[in-house]
């Protein structure tokens, strides 16, 4: 198990967003996380990725207790994420949004910037090349030098996904990346996620409302409702379970 969430809870005021929830993600899997809006999925992601600290419980990553770690520390041990509401760097170009990601850039240290320009330069060329590849793959070439703040919602989402492709991660958390992305690109994306999973051994943990996409990519699928995990299994099983259909598919699914 690469991620192990143990009895985690988070309250916002009187609201129990996540309530004594335990679940785990197998190494090398593409695990889906579904559930009605407000089920606490994003909150759970925030706790796994260190953006908020759980009130109770533990998060184990790669055998290590990472509860209370800062996001940047988790990044360094190989956990990357996207945000449901795009968190682009609005005053930077799309290309810069990608180029800022790699963590071991000598140019991020003042001393190296000033006194080892050649080292900085050669690394910068590599980073740029990598970023251009990602841009091409995401078909964002035409907005490469546009400020990220001016991109469309879907393009921002792609940019978020692109950031996770800039480094070799162990685990990638995707929070509704597909929302607002067009179908053809979505197919490409799904193909790429599968390929990265198969060939490079990435683990994906995916929140999605598009059931077809979940069905195609994910095994297993975890269902959350009202802050708790209510089921886990292959998509076919989930669809066949009347209690879940009642809890989830019974209510109209808003895509937000």
């Amino acid at each position: 198990m690469v991620i192990d969430v143990r009895n985690v809870s988070k309250r916002f005021g009187g609201l129990r967003a996540v309530n004594n929830c335990s679940l785990s993600v197998r190494r090398g899997s593409i695990t889906g996380l579904i559930g009605p809006n407000g089920a606490g999925k994003s909150t759970l992601f925030n706790m796994v990725a260190g953006n908020i600290t759980p009130d109770e419980g533990q998060v184990i990553f790669d055998g290590q207790d990472v509860t209370g770690w800062k996001p940047f520390e988790l990044f360094r041990v190989g956990m990357l994420r996207t945000f449901q509401i795009a968190h682009e760097f609005g005053q930077m170009t799309a290309l810069e949004n990608l180029m800022m990601v790699p963590g071991d850039q000598p140019g991020e240290h003042l001393i190296d910037t000033w006194f080892r320009p050649r080292l900085v330069k050669s690394r910068e060329i590599e980073v740029r090349k990598k970023a251009l590849d990602v841009i091409d793959f995401l078909k964002l070439g035409h907005v490469r030098d546009e400020l990220a703040g001016n991109l469309s919602g879907g393009q921002k989402k792609l940019l978020e996904l692109g950031r996770t492709m800039m480094v070799d991660a162990k685990v990638v958390l995707l929070d509704e990346v597909a929302a607002g992305v067009n179908k053809t690109l979505l197919n490409d994306l799904a193909g790429n996620i599968e390929r990265m999973n198969r060939e490079l051994g990435y683990t994906f943990f995916v929140i999605e409302h598009d059931m077809d996409l979940i069905g195609r990519l994910c095994d297993p699928v975890i269902v959350m409702a009202q802050g708790e995990k209510i089921a886990e299994g292959p998509m076919a099983e989930i669809r066949a379970n009347p209690a879940i259909v009642e809890a989830y598919f019974g209510t109209p699914v808003e895509v937000a």
């Binding site: 940047f72 994420r81 945000f83 005053q91 930077m92 800022m100 030098d145």
Partner: protein, 340 residues
């Protein structure tokens, strides 16, 4: 004796640290708070009890003793000024950078007043109101040009020119260092933190440490600037450093010039400095004109024109801030957002 004060300081720090870790031995909650406050008190008393006699001893030396006056080269002093500022900025940043912007502004103004009170009153360290002078110049003084046979005016010009060249060299080096860092990955990372610190943290940037870094970097530059100013005017008089004509003046320079743009800051600095120095003679001229007119009409002359015109500077400074915020909120040379 200073050594003993230092020991007392260390002991005090240990006591406070111990109290904060008291939960290890089962003291928690309110009792821990009480214990921590008490530990601070004990540490403070301990420190004061050792420092006071040491301070009195140093100050009692003939002519007002102090610990400074080591006789190093002024440029070394400038560097030390930067270093000292870095140390202070580290402490200030550590304790206050987590606050919201307006609380942060108030907290830093409060802290700066505390530091100013300390500098003003710790006579043993800084000579306080006794002032330190003359402070040597790194370049030859006018007197030495005069000794070489120059007349007064050209000696002054030559000496000040020398200082100016040195100052410009320092400015050039600093600008080069900043531009280089800002144009590279370092600047990109800093801008990402400014744009969205949550995403930046999730992309592996240690936001807090980086904010502290840039705060310290800015403070080092300010420390060097202060040290240069002190050696230029040749006198260190802590009570002459008022927020109005230093802190706020520099703020105005940045706001008017354009925050986030080095050329803007530079331009603002020169422009505001010009306004600052010409507003006095200019208002003096205006006053004299009005005074002449009013005495002709029979209302009598304006009294104390000299003193009044000196105060015009403060008014003009305030006016420039408010006008700039209202009509050019991004500054005269706004930050350029880089493309491609």
């Amino acid at each position: 004796m200073l050594g003993r004060a230092l020991l007392a300081f260390a002991a005090g720090a240990a006591i406070v640290y111990g109290a904060r870790k008291a939960d290890r031995i089962g003291i928690t909650g309110r009792w821990k708070t009480v214990l921590t406050v008490f530990a601070w008190f004990v540490a403070y008393v301990l420190y004061r009890s050792q420092l006071d006699p040491a301070a009195a001893y140093i100050e009692s030396a003939v002519g007002g003793g102090w610990v400074g006056g080591l006789g190093g080269h002024p440029v070394l002093g400038w560097l030390f000024g930067g270093l000292l500022a870095a140390g202070i900025a580290y402490i200030v940043g550590k304790i206050s950078l987590g606050l919201r912007t307006d609380y942060l502004a108030i907290a830093t103004i409060g802290i700066s007043e505390i530091i100013r009170a300390l500098i003003k009153n710790m006579d043993w360290l800084t000579r306080g109101t006794l002032t330190v002078s003359p402070i040597p110049w790194p370049t030859p003084l006018p007197q030495s040009f005069q000794a070489g046979g120059m007349d007064n005016l050209s000696a002054l010009v030559a000496a000040r020119g020398g200082f100016l060249v040195l100052a410009l060299v320092v400015l050039g080096i600093v600008l080069w260092l900043i531009s280089r860092a800002y144009a590279g990955p370092w600047g990109r990372m800093m801008r990402s933190i400014r744009d969205n610190h949550i995403a930046s943290s999730s992309m592996g940037k240690n936001v807090k440490a980086r904010q502290l870094e840039i705060f310290i970097f800015g403070s080092v530059l300010m420390g060097i600037g202060g040290a240069m100013l002190v050696s230029f005017v040749q006198i260190f008089d802590p009570s002459s450093y008022q927020p109005i004509n230093h802190t706020f003046l520099i703020w105005v320079m940045v706001i008017v010039g354009g925050a986030g743009n080095n050329w803007g800051a530079l331009f603002g600095a020169v422009l505001i400095w010009l306004i600052w120095v010409i507003s006095e003679p200019l208002s003096k001229a205006v006053f004299e004109f009005v005074s002449m007119w009013s005495s002709n009409v029979g209302w009598g002359a304006i009294p104390e024109i000299e003193a009044r015109s000196a105060q015009m500077r403060v008014f003009v400074l305030g006016l420039v801030i408010t006008i700039a915020l209202r009509f050019a909120p991004k500054g005269l040379i706004p930050e350029v957002v880089k493309r491609g």
